[in-house]
Symmetry: C2
DNA sequence: TTGGGTGCTAGCAGAACTGATAGGTTGCCT
DNA sequence: AGGCAACCTATCAGTTCTGCTAGCACCCAA
């Protein structure tokens, strides 16, 4: 196992300044690991909010990407179905993996194989603040070759993907600054509300009047630019203001 | 870099059946990496809910653990402050790390050093479902020794911690089964409410009456065993029913 | 010491939500 | 066909939340 590859990548990341140069470094490093094609998908960045635009780059064949988009394969792709709920890498397109697939998914995998994407590995990445990333690599190889390749390279692939995502997420986040400063009382009210308490109950807990609790919730909602408690709480959790 | 150590650990995990035997394997493997003391903290397991009891094991010296507890050092410990918001490993107790510490934190680090916990590494682990784990290792060594050790062992330590947490989390989760089955409409109502829509707005979106939206929210709340929308949404997000 | 800013406290009308009740549709089993 | 369960649709009284207004305490700078 070439440890220097991982270390060089990490060192390299500290020197790059743009998202593009980070991508180049990532592509070059994966190339050293004999990865033919890869796709990186960054979702749910902390301040991207609900339904935030995903961050997506790929070296998959262009025809396949278009075919994938046109047929809305995001809904079928077994990797997209399973990976987000996993914490460790998974292999797809292998004999065992195919066994558990539905007919539609088998068709999907066959179509991918025709494009030279026979099998591969998917690395789910869960980072701080609920950020999620996914690195999927594909190779055109025999099962035996793939097996050997994973045995020698999987851990490096894993680490490199992890650090890459952490770096991209950081860059992505640093650009947006929420700057919402809620007061102590406001945060307390948000938290108790998130835990199911009504205004009256919160007033008893904090020993203030119900009207005051409502006032604090008002201000919290105004600061968060929302117009209902449910939304305020969701946004507060998203932004790390409260963690129930 | 001894790849076999990581692979053996992963293989070993698939054979263990109890949480205790997993811990033993973990301890033994870390011992091979010259780790003197370690602590593992598992928090926020998916179904543990708000304020869930943490899962904690450690080989730190007993006097230190007691001293830590008695003085409520959880609030001061710089590792506990920083690690959860990081996505990659960090080193603590080093010269650079100490520079950024407050006087109280410096005192804390000095007390730790007196117990033989001079410096170490902390590995934050973010897994599926918002689970969070932290592996902190400490060594009684010179800065130079520590540096060498990290250069050769950090990646293995990282991978081993990752797989260990994933395994423990899975065991931890499988024991509790939420078994809450919300219907399509209920899920839709929860999601739109989480995005700030009122009952009337949701009724327009789904082209049903406002009363019907309220009814679906009712049922969702009953199934989730809560008595307000904010709480229902928080719980639904926690349980992975909706992801705004 | 005086003014301005910030945060906490509080009350009230109108809109939104909670909880209970009931009819209608679909699909499944007998 | 009939019975049954699950789900969706809808209504209404009582409670809670939203939006607005206003006073009070504290800190800090002029």
């Amino acid at each position: 196992m070439q440890q220097h590859l991982v270390d060089d990548f990490i060192t390299g990341l500290t020197t790059v300044t743009t998202v593009d140069s980070a991508r180049e470094l990532f592509t070059k490093t994966l190339h050293c690991l004999d990865v033919g094609h890869y796709a990186y998908l960054g979702l749910r960045f902390r301040n991207a909010g609900p339904r935030g635009k995903p961050f997506f780059i790929t070296t998959y064949p262009q025809p396949w990407v278009e075919h994938y988009d046109n047929n809305n394969y995001l809904q079928i792709d077994p990797v997209m179905q399973d990976a987000p709920s996993r914490s460790t890498p998974m292999h797809w397109g292998t004999r065992e993996h195919r066994k558990q697939m539905s007919p539609r998914q088998k068709r999907f995998l066959n179509e991918a194989a025709e494009m030279g994407l026979c099998q591969g590995a998917a690395i789910p990445i869960h980072a701080a603040g609920g950020e999620f990333g996914l690195v999927s690599v594909a190779v055109d190889a025999t099962p035996r070759q793939f097996d050997t390749m994973m045995r020698t390279h999987q851990h490096q692939l894993h680490l490199i993907s992890l650090y890459y995502h952490a770096h991209v997420a950081e860059k992505f986040i640093s650009n947006e600054s929420p700057k919402v400063s809620v007061t102590t009382r406001e945060r307390e009210c948000l938290l108790w509300s998130a835990l199911g308490k009504s205004s009256w109950e919160i007033s008893e807990i904090l020993t203030i009047s119900e009207a005051t609790v409502n006032f604090h919730m008002q201000n919290a909602m105004r600061k968060l630019e929302v117009y209902s408690r449910p939304h305020a709480i969701v946004k507060a959790v998203m932004m790390g203001i409260i963690s129930p």
